[in-house]
Amino acid sequence: MNDYRLTPDEFQRFADLIYRRTGIKFEQKKMYFVAKRIEKRMEELNIENPLEYLRLIKFADSNGGEFQNLVNLLTVNETHFFRDFPQLQAFAEHCLVQVVENKNKKGDGTIRIWSAGCSTGEEPYTLSIILHEMLEDISAWQIEILATDIDLNALKKAEEGVYESRSVKDVPPEYISKYFIRFKDKYIIKEKVKNLVSFEHLNLFDGQAIRHKKGFDFIFCRNVLIYFDEVSRRKVVDHFYVALAKGGFIFLSSSESLSRITTAFKLKRLGGHLVYTKE
């Protein structure tokens, strides 16, 4: 195996290109992480010089396929079903209830959810399971859970809907039999859960593509914004603001604070949980 070793200058050139195209910022301290993934791609393509690989993705990658391969490796897809249970509880027991009540009053039979940065699908399928559990007559609703991610490999896995036991470790046992088919050591998501979810390849930094997303009642974007720098994070959150319907709710991960990015959303306390909403 070749030892490519990126220099700090080479790393910076890759980091700048990745930032320009995706908004994802890699600081110098992430050099090892990025270098390992670049090296993996170079090995695959039998390229020995990092600058040669950089030239390839800059100038000879007409359909962006190789850049996408690199991005797939650079985005971390570690997640599981029912991740951050208290937050999902706030969604299920308070936010969803409030939105459903408002919709019933208005005679609006749609619920639209966007799982932005859905990775391998655990989050949108979790939301689908919650809707099945919480809505009295789910067939009476027209539901759309849009699940998007920049990583094509992750999306492919998400669409397959087949998981290892570690992915379902936090799923309440009664839901396992209800919403999964066990096959050997795998857990296959049932069709009724899948049917509510549609997957789409989307770069959150692609302003033009994202501008078409509108009218969502809920947006989940957990553990995604950490990849962006301040300016890109602001822009992405602005897109979410436009995409969210009035009275809708947005969920970031518990460690991310929306109020540090924008003051446009209102912080509300619902049943002991703090949630952000668009008024």
């Binding site: 302003g207 509108k214 300016v231 602001r234 603001y241 436009v242 924008t262 446009a264």
Partner: protein, 293 residues
């Protein structure tokens, strides 16, 4: 896209359209749109769009220096958001912003001078620190206090002598309190002696102004040597209103000098706190835990 199209989109009735107009102006770095953005910021009703404009004015690659005078006008706005927006936009600037703001430090309105300091502390460059240093002689107390606080936060050791001199000359308790706190951040044990001579010339801790006593305790605990700490512990006149300050003093002193934990002075003060029926339970619990450790 023509400038007038951008301007039209900025005033479009749809909030999302206005928001995206700001993004597009920012991405295209259109210099001519900067005054239009500032104008829109003043009349915009959507918080999301206002936030986006502030972000654009902070991060546009194009210099906004020619529009500083216009931006400065926001310091006089009755809307706190706009005043804070101007602070944060200037605060994201560098040398040009420092030069402009410094030229305004003799403004007649003390609130404006205070906002200038808010921007300078965000800039935080050596030039900005120099400008803040000059403000410790401002005629308004609130500006002086702000300057002292910011110099402490920025760790400006070059301001040490000026601050001690100011402490000597000005007896206003709030200003003195802010100086003690700033010196606690940037000073060393030598400042303790200088301040104590001013505060208690006869060496009696009881002579220290009661407003300043908690600050002095914090400073001695943080910077003092073991003898200075012991001296204060010995001469400290325990009163229940100081119970929390005493507990914090002991916590810091014992962290720095673990031997002090079993000293008579510390034990005596902790016992006084534990036996005081009017002291809050959490402070008593802390003292009991420390005694039993």
């Amino acid at each position: 896209m023509a400038l007038k199209d951008f301007a039209l989109r900025l005033t479009h009735k749809d909030e999302g359209e206005r928001l995206y107009a700001v993004h597009d102006i920012m991405d295209a770095n259109i210099k001519e749109m900067i005054p239009v953005l500032i104008e829109q910021l003043e009349k915009e009703e959507s918080q999301a769009v206002r936030d986006a404009i502030v972000s654009a004015l902070k991060h546009m690659e194009m210099s906004i220096t020619p529009y500083y005078e216009r931006l400065f006008g926001l310091f006089f706005s009755p809307d706190a958001f706009l005043r804070n927006a101007a602070v944060s936009i200037f605060g994201s600037g560098k040398e040009d912003a420092v030069a402009f703001l410094t030229s305004k430090l003799d403004h007649t309105d003390r609130e404006v001078r205070k906002l200038i300091l808010d921007s300078l502390v965000d800039i935080g460059t050596p030039e900005a620190i120099m400008a803040i240093r000059a403000a410790i002689y401002d005629p308004a107390k609130n500006v002086q206090i702000t300057a002292v606080e910011y110099l402490g936060r920025l760790g400006d050791r070059e301001a040490l002598e000026d601050m001690i001199e100011l402490f000597r000359k000005d007896e206003e308790p709030m200003l003195r309190s802010s100086i003690v706190n700033a010196l606690t951040e940037i000073g060393d044990s030598s400042v303790i002696k200088e301040l104590l001579i001013i505060l208690a010339p006869d060496g009696k801790v009881s002579d220290i102004n009661t407003v300043l006593l908690p600050d002095v305790m914090r400073m001695v605990a943080r910077l003092g040597n073991i003898n200075e700490i012991r001296e204060l512990l010995n001469s400290f006149p325990y009163q229940k209103i100081y119970a929390r300050d005493v507990a914090n003093f002991i916590l810091e002193a014992v962290r720095r000098f673990p031997l002090l934990k079993d000293s008579e002075e510390v034990m005596g003060l902790m016992t006084a706190i534990i036996n005081d029926p009017e002291v809050d339970e959490d402070i008593k619990n802390f003292c009991e835990e420390l005694q039993n450790e």
